[in-house]
């Protein structure tokens, strides 16, 4: 095994271990996920803009991972414009919803 290969496996192992530890801590609630998809205005109702962003994130990540797994050329697969529009729109809706919620809260106070 060459040094380059050893270093590569070390870094890949580190990334996988880090992802596993973070996932484990999320599963055991040591990393707090309370309120991930709920409004932060005190009502704690499910927020549609957060939910759609979560779904879009999971869909985009899964799609990209699938492309990487089936890739044999060794080049990073590009993200298509449709996915970029989707993520941009989804993130924009999320940010706009958040700004609107904070605006309403500040008006109430």
């Amino acid at each position: 095994m060459t040094l380059t290969r050893l270093l590569h496996f070390e870094l890949l192992g580190f990334l996988y271990a880090l992802a596993a530890v973070v996932l484990f801590q999320i599963a055991t609630r040591r990393i707090n996920l309370d309120g991930l998809i709920t409004h932060k205005d005190g009502t704690y109702q499910v927020s549609p803009e957060r939910l759609q962003l979560l779904l879009a994130t999971i869909a985009a990540s899964a799609t990209y991972f699938t492309q990487v797994a089936t890739n044999t050329s060794g080049t990073m697969p590009d993200v298509g414009p449709q996915w970029l529009y989707l993520m941009g729109g989804s993130s924009g809706i999320y940010a706009a919803g958040k700004a609107w919620a904070f605006y309403n809260l500040s008006k109430q106070q």
Partner: protein, 182 residues
């Protein structure tokens, strides 16, 4: 590569490996605290932080997975689409953080308002109920002890009165005996 280069390479590998292992162990043992990794200023989880975390892992792992497939081995080019995606995610995070911290007075601390966290509220209510029941039981026990003490006091009072009566009788008997002798 000369002997010196080999040695330096192994030292570098050892250092990187030890560094990575240390970080993982410290996170695992809690010395590096990740509990607020996804939390906003009010302590609740942020969707934009979660998204940035997911994308960072996805892109980083994909990149290192593809390094070994590149021939000759090297760092693969990162397409513009991937950079744009990470840019969107990071911008959303920055905007969200800006909104959160621009009006800190509007942040509702976790668990202080609303009825959404029903489990916690129920647990608190149950705990308060248990405390109230314990206080009630303690009050009943105190009342019983007070009643018992009152009974004992009455008994003691009666005994004192009997003793006083007996003393008076004894005094009278003594007086009578003295009179009969005289």
């Amino acid at each position: 590569m000369g002997l010196m280069g080999q040695v330096l390479g192994f030292v570098l590998c050892l250092f990187v490996g030890a560094l990575g292992l240390t970080i993982i162990v410290w996170i695992w043992t809690g010395k590096i605290n990740l509990s607020a990794l996804l939390s906003e200023a009010n302590g609740m989880a942020s969707m934009s932080r979660f998204q940035l975390l997911i994308f960072t892992f996805v892109i980083a792992i994909s990149l290192f997975e593809l390094v070994q497939r590149t021939s000759p081995a090297g760092f693969p080019d990162i397409p513009n689409g991937v950079l744009t995606l990470l840019g969107i995610s990071a911008s959303t995070y920055a905007v969200g953080k800006g909104i959160s911290y621009s009006q800190p007075q509007t942040l509702v601390p976790q668990g202080t308002a609303g009825d959404g966290d029903g489990a916690d509220a129920q647990a608190s209510a149950d705990e308060a109920g248990a405390h109230a029941a314990a206080a009630q039981a303690a009050a009943v026990a105190t009342q019983a002890a007070a009643n018992q003490a009152a009974v004992h006091a009455a008994t003691a009072q009666q005994a004192v009165q009997e003793t006083a009566t007996n003393v008076v009788k004894a005094q009278q008997a003594a007086d009578q005996a003295t009179g009969s002798q005289g």
